[in-house]
């Protein structure tokens, strides 16, 4: 594997940078705040003997709802050894905390706290890439929750994105935290596989997303072949 200065456009730096995206979403993501990797400016990889490989990166991420670009310096450590442990990330981003979404989050929280008919939605986005505007915050929230999984599962040999939220159900509010069940489909680029996870989590504006349960679901059973 490459060590020293990395080509920012090549996959080692890009995969490590994607992990930073997942990390930022777990820390700062909300129904109204979501980060996407925009570009890698520079990268450096160091082999740490038995502990693993450490990447140092200068990247830009985009807060996608408000369309703000934020520069970050980050370190990603991919640990070595059995059993496989998750990547560890440190990141400092300029002006991250300046992105203020408190008002929208409070409003959304209030609206859903009162929700008598608890929400259940399928296919975000649908096959045509469409999401009803009202459903977008829910989609964002499931992506934030998915980021915990993607962060846990990422290695130097993977690149994760959320392919689709198959199903999201709002459950009864618990201790002033909104509670959700998201069934998500992840796309892993290197294997090209679709991996399903069931996520149980809570969210509130001050608390952010707190994961309760994360469960990988087995591969879809193959349907019997058409006999037409």
């Amino acid at each position: 594997m490459e060590t020293g200065e990395l080509n920012p456009n090549h996959y080692p730096a890009q995969r490590a940078a994607k992990v930073v995206q997942h990390y930022l979403n777990t820390r700062y993501g909300s129904p109204h705040k979501l980060f996407g990797l925009q570009s890698v400016h520079s990268g450096n990889a160091e082999d740490l003997a038995d502990s693993g490989r450490k990447y140092q990166l200068e990247i830009s991420v985009q807060e996608m709802i408000g369309n703000t670009t934020v520069k970050c310096s980050a370190e990603v450590l991919f640990p070595r050894g059995e059993p496989q442990r998750s990547a560890q990330v440190q990141a400092s981003c300029e002006e991250l905390l300046k992105i203020n979404t408190t008002a929208q989050e409070e409003a959304w929280y209030q609206q859903h706290q009162k929700n008598q008919g608890l929400l259940s939605v399928q296919n975000l986005p649908d096959s045509y890439g469409h999401i009803e505007p009202d459903m977008k915050p829910l989609w964002h929230l499931c992506i934030v929750a998915s980021s915990f999984v993607m962060l846990n599962e990422s290695t130097e040999n993977t690149l994760y994105n959320v392919a689709q939220v198959a199903n999201v159900t709002q459950l009864a509010t618990q201790n002033d935290q909104l509670k959700f069940d998201c069934h998500i489909l992840l796309h892993e680029m290197v294997s090209q596989e679709i991996i399903q996870w069931k996520l149980l989590f809570t969210w509130s504006p001050p608390g952010g997303v707190k994961m309760l349960q994360m469960e990988q679901l087995p591969h879809r059973c193959e349907k019997p072949p058409n006999t037409n």
Partner: protein, 388 residues
């Protein structure tokens, strides 16, 4: 459709209202012929509702396979002088694989450009791009002298959907299906081979799985799959003609050059990179989207058995994989409101590569239809120093 029928009725009623005793017979005949016209319009539109007027074909929506097939027929009917449909193989489920051959019929053997879309079922933006590309070149050649020249010198072979079985399966059963629909080897619980790992190019060596349930299962042997066989036979028997082989995928915003195997470098790697980078710049100029250019093992992952690698190994000099929008936000389920900008930028990228391939072969002379002798003489003098 309803406007035309409605108009027919309005004229009919007006004719009826204007009838006087003296002109009754004339009016009856007028009404009769109008009625025939209206009935014909209704019949025509009922038969071809989706593409009743191809001007109304919506290039910015995703279309199921049968609509794409109707569209192909409509395109051929509207441009019989430059478009032919060629059937060149069968899918596993016995569907006929077809392409549109577009170019002036000069009666001579011509150089060619290859474009295929939809090797991977779930990458719906790719077939959308092939359709857009066809529409663009057919609109351009009437007024743009450069496109006219290219259509004179080259034929464009465009396959809107190569993996038809998979594409239909992604519409009807499983939106995120990737492979074709051939059964696995005996005892396998899963279906499908990854067509873009099945070509005879370092087959089965890297970036593949021998697990028949894997999404990168490379098949039981090289070119085991009928869809891969179709391309191999069609392009293989004409390989000296092809200047350029473009295979369209999503997602990732990449232009990939051969080879997928890290131990092999194309002999014209520098040229491929230079042309690719210029194409990426052309893409960026349209809507500001960055497409990364590089060999697959550098910018994505190593792989083997791809159609691009096979084409390059046949000697086709300019072979590229396009990975269109986006970068993972929507992934395979790219919103329909992004079809237009994605197609616009990809078109400029593809056009750059195609124009380069053309100009390299035809000495870079740009001749307008009404080229004067003076222009020709200048062109002859200049191309002596321009030609590569």
């Amino acid at each position: 459709m309803l406007n035309l029928v409605g108009l027919g009725f309005v004229v009919l009623l007006a004719a009826m209202g204007a009838a006087t005793v003296e002109s009754t017979l004339t009016t009856i005949l007028q009404i009769q012929s109008l009625l025939m016209l209206v009935l014909q319009l209704i019949a025509l539109c009922l038969m071809h509702f989706d593409v009743c007027n191809s001007v109304q074909y919506d290039y910015y929506k995703y279309h199921p396979m049968h609509e794409i097939q109707s569209w192909m027929a409509q395109i051929k009917n509207e441009h019989p002088d430059v478009v032919t449909i060629m059937d060149y193989g069968k899918t596993y489920e016995h569907r006929t694989i077809s392409l549109l051959k577009i170019g002036f019929d000069t009666g001579e053997k011509k150089k060619a450009i290859w474009m295929d879309c939809g090797i991977h079922a779930r990458e719906w933006i790719a077939p959308a791009f092939c359709q857009y590309f066809v529409r663009e070149i057919l609109n351009a050649y009437k007024t743009d002298s450069k496109m006219q020249e290219m259509m004179k010198n080259m034929d464009f072979y465009v396959t809107p959907v190569l993996n038809m079985d998979g594409y239909i399966y992604s519409w009807e059963e499983e939106r995120l299906w990737r492979k074709n629909r051939s059964p696995g080897p005996a005892g396998c619980a899963c279906n499908g081979t990854d067509l873009n790992r099945n070509f005879d190019a370092n087959w089965g060596t890297i970036g593949v799985s021998a697990d028949c349930c894997s999404n990168i299962y490379c098949g039981s042997h090289p070119v085991s799959e009928p869809e891969a066989q179709a391309v191999t036979y069609f392009v293989g028997t004409r390989k000296e003609d092809f200047l350029c082989f473009l295979t369209i995928h999503s997602y990732g915003q990449l232009l990939l050059v051969p080879y997928g195997h890290p131990n092999f470098t194309a002999s014209n790697y520098n040229e491929l990179m230079e042309v690719g980078l210029a194409a990426a710049e052309a893409i960026w100029k349209v809507h500001g989207k960055n497409y990364t250019v590089g060999a697959s093992p550098d910018v994505l992952y190593p792989n083997s058995g791809s159609s691009r690698d096979w084409a390059r190994m046949q000697g086709i000099p300019l072979a590229y994989t396009f990975e269109l929008r986006d970068n993972g936000t929507f992934g395979f389920e790219l919103p329909e409101n992004q079809i237009q900008p994605t197609c616009e930028e990809a078109y400029m990228g593809a056009l750059h590569i195609i124009t380069y391939a053309h100009d390299k072969t035809f000495s870079g002379a740009v001749a307008t239809v009404a080229a004067t002798l003076w222009t020709v003489l200048i062109a002859m003098g200049v191309t002596g120093s321009n030609s590569m």
